[in-house]
């Protein structure tokens, strides 16, 4: 099993009331950003990645968001390049590069550079990017899927075809493709595809024999996607195994239960992940397929009156900041723990919950979304990681052996043969979920 560590790298000094009033991290004015404090945070997050390597984690995972205090890392490849130099052993996984908003040739060059400097430790991850990333980069949302597909095909060619050659596609054209940087890993870097349970993405990952990384999604829909992946894999002629599946989970550890509970509240600072961006920015017209748009239309309507209940209209004057803060800290935080979106406790109390996920989802990649944001201090983050590394990781590795959960470094995704019957084996255990 590959065990990684992740944080969103937030601008934790963003005033909480501004996020609540805006009902969204995206859209809060950057007048609240102090570059000196942000610079210190970047360095702190890099230090924490170094510490993760020292503690024995197998990988460090980054992501990218634009124009958003939820994540400072708008230019993730720059951070990855630094990590390529300052770490020695860990995999550097990028979850992921939003292809439609990138210049694909430039991206191919950046990622090849990172793979070379790191000695072949890069894990690439391709994403469409949330709706707000299209808006922040002024990329036409109606061409999101086309641009994703075309950029993906182009980058693989740029890494594998001998140049110079000429490319003329629908959305990109290059008259001279001949990058003098190439990945060390052949034919191209290991790839995991991050996803928020989108069926198209599960199928895309399975067809390309990429691992599929579920980003802290609920267990039942996650299992649905893994079954879809495994069915697609079977149709492609291979058996999916744990090496094909990764899971991201928020886990915070402290020396006492009370301390962990208090620390865990930072996951709901400003409303946490659910307050990432308002619906009109998450789903700009044309970003989703027609089927997904129809689902959204009905999901947001009152079945009795047939009228929209969530109109998307937002007025900051109507927001009760204190009431929202209380709701986040009490109701939202309790809900997130009840449905295991957040695991907070001492090593003894978090372990059974992790065991439950391992048994149910059977992932070969497990990434710990460690505590961040709000009032979390560097010392608290480091302590949580240390407790995890000393008391939780060794047990997880034992369990991974017992449950036979190899990561993609141990078994290459797509290399398992289907059983002689031609019927695929199960890839997850819903029974464990029920228990």
């Amino acid at each position: 099993m590959h065990i990684a560590t992740f944080t969103e790298r937030p601008y934790s000094h963003v005033p909480e009331e501004e996020v609540i009033r805006n009902a969204s991290f995206f859209g809060v004015s950057n007048k609240f950003l102090d570059p000196v404090k942000a610079g210190a945070l970047f360095n702190r997050y890099l230090d924490e990645k170094l510490y993760a390597e020292e503690l024995g984690f197998d990988g460090v995972m980054l992501n990218e968001h634009h124009a958003n205090p939820f994540t400072l890392g708008a230019v993730m490849d720059v951070e990855a390049a630094i990590l390529a130099r300052i770490t020695r052993r860990v995999k550097i996984s990028l979850m992921g590069n939003p292809l439609p908003v990138a210049d694909p040739l430039r991206l191919a060059e950046e990622l090849a550079t990172i793979d070379m400097i790191s000695g072949g430790r890069l894990v690439t991850g391709w994403v469409r990017g949330a709706g707000c990333e299209q808006i922040a980069n002024n990329i036409n949302p109606t061409y999101n899927r086309e641009r994703f597909d075309e950029a993906h095909d182009f980058i693989l060619q740029a890494w594998t075809r001998e140049g110079p050659w000429r490319y003329e596609g629908k959305h990109y054209e290059y008259r001279h493709v001949n990058p003098w940087v190439k990945p060390i890993q052949k034919p191209f870097p290991q790839t995991w595809i991050p996803s928020l349970v989108s069926p198209e993405t599960a199928v895309f990952a399975a067809r390309n024999r990429y691992s599929y990384m579920a980003l802290a999604t609920f267990l039942p829909p996650t299992m649905e996607m893994w079954n879809l992946y495994a069915d697609t894999a079977a149709a492609e002629g291979y058996q999916a195994g744990p090496e094909c599946f990764g899971y991201l989970q928020k886990i915070v550890c402290a020396d006492t239960e009370e301390e962990a509970q208090e620390l865990g509240r930072n996951y709901v600072y400003g409303g946490g992940q659910p307050a990432f961006a308002r619906p009109e920015w998450m789903f700009p017209a044309g970003y989703n397929s027609k089927a997904a748009t129809r689902r959204l239309a009905y999901a947001l309507s009152d079945p009795e009156t047939n009228e929209a209940v969530v109109s998307g209209k937002h007025s900051s004057s109507g927001v009760d900041v204190e009431a929202t803060r209380r709701y986040n800290n009490e109701v939202l935080y309790a809900n997130l723990q009840r449905n295991r979106q957040v695991i907070a406790g001492t090593p003894e109390t978090v372990l059974p919950k992790i065991r439950h996920i391992l048994e149910t989802l059977r992932p070969g990649i497990f990434s710990i979304w460690h505590i961040e944001g709000g009032s979390t201090t560097h010392q608290q983050s480091m302590r949580s990681m240390r407790l995890l590394a000393e008391h939780v990781l060794p047990q997880m590795r034992e369990w991974a052996k017992e449950l036979d959960l190899p990561g993609p470094d141990e078994v290459s995704p797509g290399s398992r043969k289907l059983p002689p019957s031609g019927q695929r084996d199960p890839v997850c255990d819903p029974g464990a979920q029920a228990a």
């Binding site: 109606t142 009109e280 748009t293 239309a297 047939n306």
Partner: protein
């Protein structure tokens, strides 16, 4: 909703369907609808339909007529409609275009001014205003854009009938289709063609009326003068205390201008 006077028709253009609405009898008047889709059936149309045959094509990709992938700009769409006019024998028709539809009509006039009998542009998109900016359809929910399209919804009798008057799941989907397609064609440069001003230099002897509300919060009225200068002989009617929908905000005055122009 008031009694709807439209009859929906479907024609085959280049192997794919194009839907259009028809009302009334007489000389054909083409109506090009706006970026949010076809807004409905209103008093001004009822009155014009007594004397003219109104034809309102449902733009490809806006939810009813299927999208045509080859159409990637408003100029492409203008060429498509020129082909429709030839096929249907609608050449020489008078045309009225609203907002996005006004931009289509202006592009068509710039490509071939002879295809119209007269041109009426109501607060058209297509030229970047010198003062102010075209309202961003993608920065806020569609309902906000709709509410901003008149100076005062309370003072606009037919405002409640726009797009059926309720945000049902079906209407939500239609808004998504229409705005997605408008965005596909005009994401950048946003809702304008920097060459249009110069391209309109081809227009000669085309009776042109430009109507604009002085308090338009969608397309700033500063673009009106540019349109007037670009189209030789164009007349400009500015409506005081009026937003982006003069046809609904000041229906009587709007009809007076239109009727005089069409005759």
């Amino acid at each position: 909703m008031a009694k709807v006077g439209w009859k929906q028709k479907t024609i085959d253009i280049g192997g794919a369907e194009l839907g259009y609405l028809r009302a009334g009898k007489g000389k054909p008047v083409l109506i090009f609808h706006e970026e949010l889709g076809n807004p409905g059936w209103f008093h001004w149309q009822r009155e014009l339909a007594e004397k003219y045959q109104l034809i309102l094509p449902l733009h490809p990709g806006f939810g009813v007529s299927p999208r045509r992938d080859w159409i990637r700009t408003v100029g492409d769409l203008a060429n498509f409609y020129a082909q429709v006019l030839v096929k249907q024998g609608w050449e020489g028709a008078d045309v009225i275009g609203f907002s996005f539809g006004g931009w289509i009509a202006a592009e068509m006039a710039a490509q071939n001014p002879g295809q119209f009998g007269s041109l009426t542009l109501v607060a058209p998109l297509g030229i970047k205003p010198r003062q102010g900016a075209i309202r961003d359809l993608f920065a806020a929910p569609t309902e906000d854009y709709l509410a901003a399209s008149v100076r005062d919804p309370e003072d606009t009798p037919e405002f409640g009938q726009l797009f059926g008057g309720a945000l049902t799941p079906e209407q939500f989907e239609l808004f998504q289709d229409a705005t997605a397609e408008a965005g596909r064609l005009a994401w950048q440069p946003y809702m304008n063609n920097p060459a249009l001003r110069n391209r309109l230099g081809l227009v000669r002897n085309l009776p042109t009326l430009i109507i604009w509300g002085e308090e338009d919060a969608i397309v700033p009225v500063s673009a009106a003068a540019d349109y007037q200068q670009a189209i030789r002989g164009a007349r400009l009617a500015l409506f005081k205390n009026c937003g982006h929908r003069p046809e609904l905000e000041q229906t009587k005055e709007f009809l007076k201008k239109i009727k005089r122009h069409l005759s």
